[in-house]
């Protein structure tokens, strides 16, 4: 047990040493942390009630009292963008959680058992990948009442295929390794082998896939809300603020510019963080990371 702890601490230290040298990834990580704080503290930070209608200040341009202007109902855009970050974050985390659990279970089953099980699950993956995701999402949403929970569920249920493939690939190689064969030879059951011995060693690429899956889910949710099929009003989301601003593009550019910038920076930060984690976890996986190309901090 003691040896295990020391070994883990060593791995974490190695990871951190490599990760903290990557300035871009650190920036991404800091922005992501700030975004989480902002989302949690939105009620404290928001200067106005995000749903507070003010008919005297309709479509007011950015000013000292309304930094990012107001919308056609006189609601404060800054407050709505701040509250929107809660929806984005919640949808991102929960839907990626669903996708990761589903993908890990199916990928593990396929990779460990092989044969028919593997064949069936992988054909299911192929099948799901044939559907353009937005068409599938729209078709499902046509039949369901849109709410934040259905959005999380459908984004998660249509996004597990990449994780399943990753986990399966890891299992295929790990299954043949000595420590797995030895533990099987002393009578460890399938569940014990999977969860205790293989899965912990297969989690690194899954962690990376999760970090990169969150921004993808955020983009998808924003797109759905923009079409009016995502999280419904009165909840403020980045997508539906943009949708509200569409008819007023010419006179109220602030409703288009700022929520979009919020999406852009959020997605960019998660992507940089995800790349950084991948580089730090496994130097062999190191594709030409953005930090290395830009020669920052190396």
């Amino acid at each position: 047990m003691a040896a295990r702890v020391i070994k883990n601490r060593g791995e974490v230290r190695l990871f951190w040493r490599s990760f903290s040298r990557n300035q871009l990834a650190m920036c991404g990580g800091i922005v992501v942390a700030v975004l989480v704080v902002v989302a949690v503290a939105a009620p404290v930070l928001a200067p106005w009630d995000p749903n507070g209608v003010d008919t005297k200040r309709i479509l007011a341009s950015p000013s000292k009292s309304h930094w990012l202007g107001t919308d056609p109902l006189g609601r404060d855009v800054l407050s709505r963008v701040l509250y929107g970050s809660r929806i984005s974050l919640a949808v991102g985390f929960v839907s990626v959680g669903i996708a990761t659990i589903l993908g890990t279970v199916l990928g593990a089953a396929a990779g460990y058992h092989g044969g028919l099980v593997d064949n069936f699950i992988m054909r299911l993956v192929d099948l799901m990948l044939v559907f353009p995701r937005f068409f599938l999402l729209l078709a499902v949403l046509a039949f369901l009442k849109p709410s934040i929970w259905t959005i999380m569920a459908v984004i998660g249920l249509t996004g597990w295929m990449g994780v399943a493939r990753l986990v399966r690939a890891e299992f295929l190689t790990l299954r043949e390794r000595e420590f797995v064969i030895w533990s099987e030879s002393i009578g460890a059951g399938a569940l014990r082998v999977i969860f205790r011995h293989i899965l912990p060693n297969a989690m690194a690429p899954v962690l990376v896939a999760m970090t990169l899956g969150i921004p993808a889910a955020i983009l998808t949710e924003a797109g759905l809300s923009f079409l009016g099929l995502g999280v419904q009003p009165p909840y403020a989301t980045w997508g539906n603020i943009l949708n509200d601003g569409r008819d007023y593009m010419e006179i109220a550019w602030w409703m288009t510019l700022y929520p979009g910038l919020a999406i852009l920076f959020t997605v960019l930060s998660y992507n940089l963080l995800g790349e950084g984690i991948r580089d730090a976890l496994d130097p062999r996986l190191r594709r030409a990371g953005v930090g290395r190309i830009l020669r920052l901090g190396r």
């Binding site: 044939v130 943009l242 601003g245 960019l268």
Partner: protein
């Protein structure tokens, strides 16, 4: 080669059946059946419509019989009729919309490949140069830019502020009064913004793949050999390296197709282009279920066919794939 193509074809038949099955599963998601959504205020909810629905979908029968019946009509490309007052057959509706979506996607694909290959090759051959850094920044911003937001910004800038380009539809109102060439120009100018928006994200991803693929090839021994025997850098890169670097990219092109087609939903909705994507959104909002299902089946089948073509093309250009005998892992 024929054998290889045939094998790929046979593998995709179960997928085709799966597509129809998933599409049918979607309709059964509605709690209490699709009739529940026809509320009294709904103009579609007349007793005749309900009657027709029950008959058309066999809603009084068990699910597997319903599916069987629907499938037997679907293989003849008969997806029933639209719920909307015009009551057109679903296939007619889709047929009206398909050409423009295909045209847009083919143009986008050509532009993406045409630009991403040189961008990727130049970044790879000048690794860590200023050019490489600039394109990398561009790629990361391209990944993170929501396409609908980019569309809105371009509309504000080029459509509303500068007035250079039209921002909606495919033709101007005075289209019929224009001369032939003016008509062509009018049509093309309507396509510029949608195509720029649709290619932006794909270009970022694709040039990155191209760069990665090229970097891997450049380190191979046969490139050293080509250099050692005195070939010019142009021939080494343009002929020996590029050909091999393009191989995996063919597959990625096939795999990225669903994303591209899915993108037409956003682009066609924003720019009011009467294609499959817009039809999908409209029928989802009007709860026109036969059109939704027909659309889903057709789009997925198109993707399947495109993947098949990409697979066969891969086998055609890379003998290792078809002669290796072992299925490559994706």
């Amino acid at each position: 080669m024929v054998l290889f193509a045939l094998r790929r074809l046979i593998i995709s038949i179960p997928l085709l059946v799966g597509i129809t099955f998933v599409s049918y599963l979607v309709i059964s998601l509605a709690p209490g059946g699709p009739l529940d959504f026809l509320t009294p205020e709904d103009p579609n909810a007349s007793p005749e419509v309900k009657e027709r629905l029950i008959k058309e979908f066999g809603l009084d029968q068990p699910l597997y019989i319903q599916y069987g019946k629907w499938l037997s009509r679907a293989v003849r490309l008969d997806f029933g009729r639209s719920f909307l007052p015009d009551g057109k057959p679903v296939l007619t509706k889709i047929g009206e919309r398909l050409p423009i979506t295909l045209l847009l996607n083919v143009i986008e694909m050509l532009i993406i490949v045409g630009l991403a290959v040189p961008i990727g090759v130049m970044s790879a051959t000048r690794q860590y140069s200023l050019y490489d850094k600039v394109t990398t920044v561009f790629v990361f911003i391209g990944f993170a830019t929501p396409d609908f937001w980019l569309a809105l910004l371009l509309m504000i800038l080029f459509g509303l502020q500068l007035g250079w380009l039209p921002i909606s539809g495919l033709r101007s109102l005075n289209f019929e009064y224009l001369s032939f060439w003016a008509q062509q120009w009018d049509f093309l100018s309507h396509l510029v913004l949608p195509i720029v928006v649709a290619t932006f994200g794909g270009l970022a991803g694709f040039s990155r793949y191209m760069r990665q693929s090229m970097l891997e090839v450049i380190r191979q021994d046969y490139i050293q050999t080509a250099r050692a025997k005195g070939l010019s850098e142009r021939v080494v890169i343009g002929k020996h390296a590029l050909r091999n670097a393009l191989l995996p990219v063919v597959t990625i092109l096939g795999l990225s197709l669903p994303g591209l087609i899915g993108g037409s939903i956003i682009v066609e909705t924003i720019f009011a282009i009467p294609g499959m994507g817009q039809l999908m959104v409209q029928s989802v909002f009007s709860r026109d279920y036969p059109v939704v299902m027909g659309n889903l089946v057709i789009v997925a089948t198109l993707t399947l066919v495109a993947n098949l073509v990409a697979d066969v093309a891969y086998g055609l250009v890379d003998p290792r794939i078809r002669l290796g005998g072992r299925r490559r892992r994706r």
